[in-house]
């Protein structure tokens, strides 16, 4: 296991070179991504942070083949994003939980499994396992609107974990939650990441969140979205919540804030 | 058995008693015919139905049939059970109408949908414009009933001797309140309720044979109805799917209808035909038909049927 793991880390999971993306809109072209270069390795936890509208979501969508770059190249596991998508390499978590109101929590988690043609017994087993993982066992039969926002968000993460995607892309998954709940989910996410060794791409607006979670923090500038800074975290993999009060943490947070502020025009 | 579909001109009522009697009493069956009677309605054009192949034989008024013939739909009269016209214009005395001369400036209710031709030729004979004004008459498209005269919206409405006239009476106006102008009396009568088929079909001997049987059985029905008016009315009532007809009204209608069919054995009287055509041709600037039709009737069927 560890040998294979080390082997895989050699080739980057995601590798973007000179990525550009321009949207054609009624008001003229919008240059969302400009000359983006980035490599993400197996097992990385990479956060993307930047002012609103800078292209974080767009970048994540390009990785997941939800958007085609207008220039540059990107490979995922050595192949194109489209091929990677067809091999179901992605678990994607959106900002809003986006659970289907007409399906129970269990049914929601089962949905991608049904689509991917897992057997019934395999489905059951997996649903049970991920529900355990996000501590929602017992809520399988409930409907989404019977759960709090935090629980819904956990269910939506469980849904992305239910099948064996080795890349997890999360677009501001905790944006709508209050700070306490958010702290708690952050902790759980870290544990989960440690346990599964997935590669995670994570968009956030919160500096502490980015610093707390990531092995690398990618700071982006306002439109046209460029990568202005990539900060390697010096924090250990094991991170209690208290770590946020250490000078090391504050130092990294400060660097991120400076990076952000440099690119921010204040007239949003 | 041979299938025959008959399209009526109007809803099921004693006006069509002969056919229902023939059906009910088995006269058609005796001839080896399997007859379907399709009731008509306010917006069913029998000519259109036969053109579309929805019926083998239709009942229509001659003006409308001749007009259709001019439009290129070759209808031929094969039998004429109704000898005289039942059409009249019924007016309220209190509207100031005593003679046709009083029509000027009045509002008259008229049936359209191909039934307007007799009225139009009468008016053109009188020399009245139908466009309103002091020198003409204002025409209303009369709906399904006689409301306009009851409510004073029209001075006169179109009625049939056997039907609408009695509705006015039933509604509470007495014959003394009314003046009636029968088309017969005004010399503008046209033939009503003849049997018409498509000219092309008559080239087929089998079809002709079928029609002979049909006309024979139908006339038998009519004569039976004339002799047993009350029973005939009850047969009609049994066949009314809408359940809206009343016994009293149908019996009275049968009595009046019998007067109109009495003079006919089923064969068209060429004199009546000529009179109808003359009246339709005389329509001034806008006659109903522009030239005398050819081959619009035949005795071929009745000759065989009635001998």
């Amino acid at each position: 296991m560890t040998a294979a793991q080390a082997n895989e880390t050699a080739a980057p999971v995601i590798s973007a070179k000179g990525l550009n993306l321009t949207f054609q809109t009624n008001d003229g072209p919008v240059h969302a991504l400009k000359d983006v270069n980035l490599e993400i390795n197996k097992g990385d936890f990479v956060s993307f942070i930047g002012p609103s509208g800078c292209g974080k979501t767009t970048f994540l969508r390009v990785m997941a083949d939800l958007e085609k770059p207008t220039a540059g190249s990107i490979t995922v596991n050595g192949v194109s994003p489209e091929e990677a998508r067809k091999t179901r390499a992605y678990g994607y978590v959106f900002q809003h939980a986006g659970l289907y109101p007409w399906r129970t929590i269990g049914g929601n988690i089962r949905l991608p499994l049904e689509i991917m043609g897992y057997t019934k017994s395999d489905q059951d087993e997996r649903v049970k396992r991920v529900l355990d993982l996000v501590e929602l066992s017992g809520f399988e039969k409930k409907f989404p609107w019977q759960l709090s926002g935090g629980m819904q968000q956990r269910a939506s993460i469980a849904r992305a974990l239910a099948f064996d995607a080795d890349i997890l892309l999360m677009d501001e998954p905790f944006g709508a939650l209050d700070e306490i709940v958010r702290d708690h989910l952050n902790e759980q996410l870290l544990q989960l990441w440690a346990r599964t060794n997935k590669t995670i791409g994570f968009v956030t607006h919160s500096i502490p969140e980015a610093v707390y979670l990531s092995t690398r923090i990618v700071v982006m500038s306002p439109r046209p979205g460029r990568i202005t800074d990539v900060i390697e975290s010096t924090l250990p993999r094991e991170r209690p919540l208290d770590i946020r009060d250490t000078p090391e943490f504050l130092e990294i947070a400060h660097r991120v804030r400076e990076g952000l502020r440099a690119g921010h025009a204040y007239d949003d | 058995a041979d299938q025959v579909t008959l399209q009526l001109k109007w809803v099921t009522q004693a006006q069509f008693a002969g056919y229902y009697v023939a059906l009910d009493k088995g006269f058609y069956a005796e001839e080896g015919l399997d007859v379907t009677i399709k009731p008509g309605g306010p917006d069913i054009a029998p000519a259109q139905v036969i053109a579309g192949g929805g019926a083998d034989v239709v009942l229509d008024w001659m003006p409308s049939a001749l007009a259709s013939r001019e439009k290129g739909l070759a209808l031929v009269n094969i039998a004429q059970p109704f000898k005289s016209s039942g059409m009249m214009l019924t007016c309220r005395k209190d509207a100031g109408v005593a003679s046709p001369a009083d029509f000027k400036g009045k509002t008259l209710g008229v049936w359209f949908f191909g039934n307007e031709y007799p009225f139009l030729s009468w008016m053109s004979k009188l020399g009245y414009s139908t466009e309103g004004g002091a020198d003409g008459v204002t025409v209303l498209k009369q709906g399904f009933n006689v409301d306009p005269i009851l409510q004073g919206q029209a001075a006169c409405v179109s009625t049939m001797t056997y039907n609408e006239y009695w509705q006015i009476i039933d509604a509470g106006l007495s014959p003394d309140d009314l003046v009636v102008f029968k088309y017969e009396d005004q010399g503008v009568a046209t033939l009503e309720d003849g049997m018409y088929v498509l000219e092309d079909n008559l080239k087929d001997p089998a079809f002709v044979e079928k029609m002979v049987k049909f006309v024979r059985a139908s006339m038998k029905g009519w004569k039976w109805a004339e002799e047993n008016p009350d029973d005939a009315a009850m047969i009609v009532l049994d066949n009314d799917a809408s359940g809206a007809q009343t016994e009293a009204h149908q019996k009275r209608m049968m009595g009046e209808v019998a007067k109109l069919t009495a003079g006919s054995n089923g064969a068209l009287d060429p004199a009546d035909y000529e009179r109808t055509v003359a009246s339709l041709l005389s329509g001034g600037s806008d006659p109903v038909i522009s030239k005398a039709p050819e081959g619009a009737w035949t005795h071929m069927i009745t000759d065989k049927a009635l001998n």
């Binding site: 969508r61 997941a64 083949d65 939800l66 998508r85 067809k86 179901r88 992605y90 678990g91 994607y92 959106f94 809003h96 986006g98 289907y100 109101p101 007409w102 399906r103 129970t104 949905l111 991608p112 049904e114 689509i115 991917m116 409907f143 989404p144 609107w145 099948f163 | 809803v11 099921t12 399709k38 009731p39 008509g40 309605g41 306010p42 917006d43 069913i44 054009a45 259109q48 139905v49 053109a51 579309g52 192949g53 929805g54 709906g143 399904f144 009933n145 006689v146 409301d147 009851l150 509705q167 509604a171 509470g172 007495s174 009314d240 799917a241 809408s242 359940g243 809206a244 007809q245 009204h249």
Partner: protein, 287 residues
Amino acid sequence: MRKSFLPVLTVVAAIFVLWYAMAVVLNAAWAKDQAKRAGVELSFSELVADTWAQDKPKLPAPHQVAAEIWETTVEKKITSKRSLVFHSGITLSSTLLGFVLGTVLGIGLAVGIVYNRVMDMSVMPWVIASQTIPILAIAPMIIVVLNAVGISGLLPKAIISMYLSFFPVVVGMVKGLRSPDMMQLDQMRTWNATASQQFWKLRLPSSMPYLFASLKIAMAASLVGAIVGELPTGAVAGLGARLLAGSYYGQTIQIWSALIMAAALAACLVAIIGLIQRVTLKRMGMA
């Protein structure tokens, strides 16, 4: 529900009061006319009594209509041609057939519009234009023409119903099938779902609330179609035929009872859809 009980009752009561009052106003002229002809003078109470008891009133009083409905539903055998239940049944059957046809056509078109770009761009304007054709006015012609091509009986009426009822279904279903947001569609994409999986697992379930809202309108429209389709078919049978026959013979009481019956039928049908809607959406967790 309970909160609106009293207000609704009040409004309905007000309608009845107004109805009786209108009956007096509208029928008084005839009553006076008759009295004058008979040479008698009517007192006010006699006048009121007369206006509420005429044979062919301009506006029949509610109790007259109620009596007629009672007579033609309860006291007649259902198979009798004079039974309103019989006629309602006939209208109901073509309404339902037309409704089913319209729903199928509507959903089919909506699916086409949502999944096919050419249809999306070309069909919708014509669907809207189609509804500006006064189908009701040409219903008789349609029936005759359909007869000509061998379609007769229930179907021609049902086709008119269908023509009226498919429209709300198309409009509602296009909206409904498009109601999943971009995110949900993208999610399906990340799972590499096929078009049919996308349809059955996402688009169709999301469209349910829209579907039911449209079905209610479609049902009402379908009934209108069936009634109007019956008007010209020779006053054979059905509520439309009753309406026409009543009108033909000036039987206002009969017209009103057919009308009320049609209204009750519409209300029942719409209520049934409402019920199905409530049950389905509840089971889907969407109510």
